[in-house]
């Protein structure tokens, strides 16, 4: 084994781990004084990792050239793309967090450290070309997520969210592990390429069960219907910045491993998993759209919105084509921007007494009280609804185009119909903000970090985002091409 190459390719993870360890010691000795410093250094470490990954992204011209540690880990364009997205999303989460946690008296330096280790786990997940790497990365990111969900440990709802997330997440891990053990039993290996070779002549029923279990376990992690029931409770209970994190980075990682596992080891058996993905996609779109309608809590509404979006992403997977995969990457980028933007806006809305805004009645008439946030939310909501001039429309458009080209016209048609239902509650958001009577409480000023994230998100989802299109398309198709390199 060539250790030098391996260490070079895994540089981002190693760098992040070392900074995590160092920051842990800094926080232990510095106490509460260094919390802010630790947060800034963690963001800097993530930024460095993103730069390094970007360097790999441009340098690795041959997609499969980057196998590390004897084929446990692969640094290709796909993983680099997903990793950069994950790192940037975590940096945004670090930027919007401090004021919220400080206001609740729970701003501790363990928060950025846990996010850092979570990022290590997520980047291992997206680079995994072996079932064991996948599992360890998944556990690392899940374990830090469980702790983050109940970070406000004196708040009953936060503790409950952490507990629910932990129990259901552990169940999902168990299901996933069971599926992996079946696949290992029938293939005799955990390596993706070798699994593909082992099943080249056809797939055993037992191994088929394995695939189903693995897909079910991963569906849990990306909150696709019918494994979505934890999402609204956990998203509502967890502290809002943590919810923003859950809805962005881990979702990118989980979708990425789902793509890799479906399209690398089981690329020859698309028919055996396509039905499941199609069902999960349609069910997520419909349940996400219908479930949101009756919600009064804004966080629950955004939770259903994320379920809905996962459905659209899965349409891309159902195509099992390079175009569909590239569409998924594009969708993921735009989804992360929209999600982070909407949660940041939610985070900025607080009453004079510090109480966060949680329901529709709180944001009534927001346009007169806090016009800047209201207009940004308007852009984000229209974009989530997929209304044409905004960038969210482009995300849906590329996915549907891929579905139509792969002859999944019925799937695309149902998806489009359901997205019209989904538009209802996004429009309700806008209607309440702009046309309802304003109520008493006044909004406090917000810290600069939150403004930066919100305004950036607003600019990207606005029609100005189409200027990014050329780059985004090129990168997405590079990333997708590396998944299909062996075909």
């Amino acid at each position: 084994m060539d250790y030098a190459t391996s260490l070079y390719l895994t540089g981002a993870e190693i760098g992040l781990s070392i900074s995590g360890l160092v920051l842990l010691l800094v926080s232990a000795w510095g106490g509460a004084r260094v919390t802010r410093l630790v947060t800034i250094l963690a963001a800097a470490a993530l930024f460095g990792a993103a730069i390094f990954t970007g360097h790999l992204f441009t340098e690795l011209s041959v997609p499969a050239a980057g196998d590390a540690f004897g084929g446990l880990y692969r640094a290709d364009d796909f993983s680099s793309f997903a990793k950069i997205l994950i790192y940037l999303a975590v940096i945004a989460c670090l930027m919007i967090t401090p004021k919220y946690l400080a206001a609740n008296g729970i701003y501790r330096s363990e928060y950025p450290i846990l996010l850092l280790f979570g990022a290590v786990g997520m980047s291992m997940m997206v680079s995994a070309v072996d079932l064991i790497t996948l599992y360890i990365g998944l556990e690392l990111s899940s374990l830090s997520s469980y702790v983050l969900a109940s970070f406000a440990r004196d708040d009953v709802r936060s503790s409950e969210a952490g507990l629910k997330y932990f129990i259901l997440g552990a169940l999902a891990s168990g299901i996933l592990l069971y599926g992996m053990s079946l696949i290992y039993g029938f293939a005799g290996t955990t390596d993706y390429a070798a699994i593909r070779l082992a099943f080249i002549g056809g797939i055993e029923t037992g191994a088929l069960f394995g695939i189903v279990f693995v897909l079910a376990g991963l569906a849990f992690k990306i909150a696709a219907v019918p494994f979505h029931m934890w999402t609204p409770d956990v998203y509502e209970g967890a502290p809002t910045p943590v919810t923003a994190f859950f809805a962005s980075a881990p979702k990118v990682a989980a979708v990425a491993i789902l793509m890799r596992i479906a399209l690398e080891p089981f690329a020859d058996h698309v028919d055996s998993w396509r039905q499941i993905v199609v069902f999960a996609a349609l069910a997520s779109i419909v349940v996400g759209a219908l479930g949101a309608i009756g919600q009064d809590s804004l966080k629950r509404l955004l939770a259903y919105s994320s379920i809905n979006n996962v459905g659209f992403i899965l349409i891309g997977l159902a195509t099992a084509t390079q175009l569909g995969t590239s569409a998924m990457m594009t969708y993921l980028v735009i989804y992360v921007v929209m999600t982070l933007g909407s949660f940041t806006a939610l985070l900025m809305l607080r009453a004079e007494d510090g109480r966060p805004f949680e329901t529709f009645s709180d944001i009534a008439g927001l346009a007169t009280r806090k016009p800047a946030i209201a207009w940004c939310l308007l852009l984000l909501m229209f974009s989530l609804a997929g209304i044409p001039p905004l960038f969210g429309f482009w995300a849906k458009f590329v996915v549907f185009r891929a579905a139509v080209e792969a002859d999944l016209i019925a799937l695309a048609a149902i998806g489009i119909a359901a997205s019209v239902i989904g538009a209802f509650y996004y429009l309700k958001f806008v209607k309440v903000m702009f046309f309802d009577e304003a109520e008493g409480s006044v909004v406090k000023t917000s810290p600069i970090g939150q403004w930066i994230v919100l305004i950036l998100a607003g600019i990207i989802v606005s029609p100005l985002g189409y200027f990014l299109n050329g780059l985004l398309d090129a990168w997405s198709s590079d990333a997708a091409a590396s998944l299909f390199y062996l075909v």
Binding site: Y3, L21, L24, L25, S27, A28, W29
Partner: protein, 124 residues
């Protein structure tokens, strides 16, 4: 493959221990049953607390800090368990294996230093 006969002394020890412990527990019980008077009534068998029925469950609630201690113990216990295969296979893994374990130990040493410094190892 391992020759299982090396475990024979342990098995014999288990048999003897089992036999002796059974004898020590049940022999006195049987002897006293056969020689003494044995007339249980409901009153004799009920629990006794100063003439009153028991106020509460005898199970008291533990402090959550025991849990923290137990988790830390599990982590370091696992660390120790990983040392065994490392030690016996060192001639096969060489310097790479040695370095691996040292890094692993360093990771957990950082954890120990952190736990120590924040006072997780202190009781009061």
């Amino acid at each position: 493959m391992v020759d299982l006969s090396q475990y024979l002394p342990i098995l014999l020890f288990l048999f003897i221990a089992l036999g002796l412990s059974v004898a020590f527990v049940f022999l006195p019980m049987g002897v006293s049953r056969l020689t003494g008077a044995h007339q249980p009534t409901a009153e004799k068998l009920s629990e006794y607390e100063c003439g009153f029925p028991a106020f509460e469950d005898s199970r008291g609630q533990f402090d959550v800090r025991f849990y923290l201690v137990a988790i830390l113990f599990i982590v370091f216990d696992l660390e120790a368990a990983f040392l065994f295969p490392w030690a016996v296979s060192l001639d096969l893994t060489g310097w790479a294996g040695w370095t691996t374990m040292m890094i692993f130990l360093a990771e957990l040493a950082v954890g120990l230093a952190y736990a120590w410094k924040v006072g997780a190892l202190e009781w009061e």
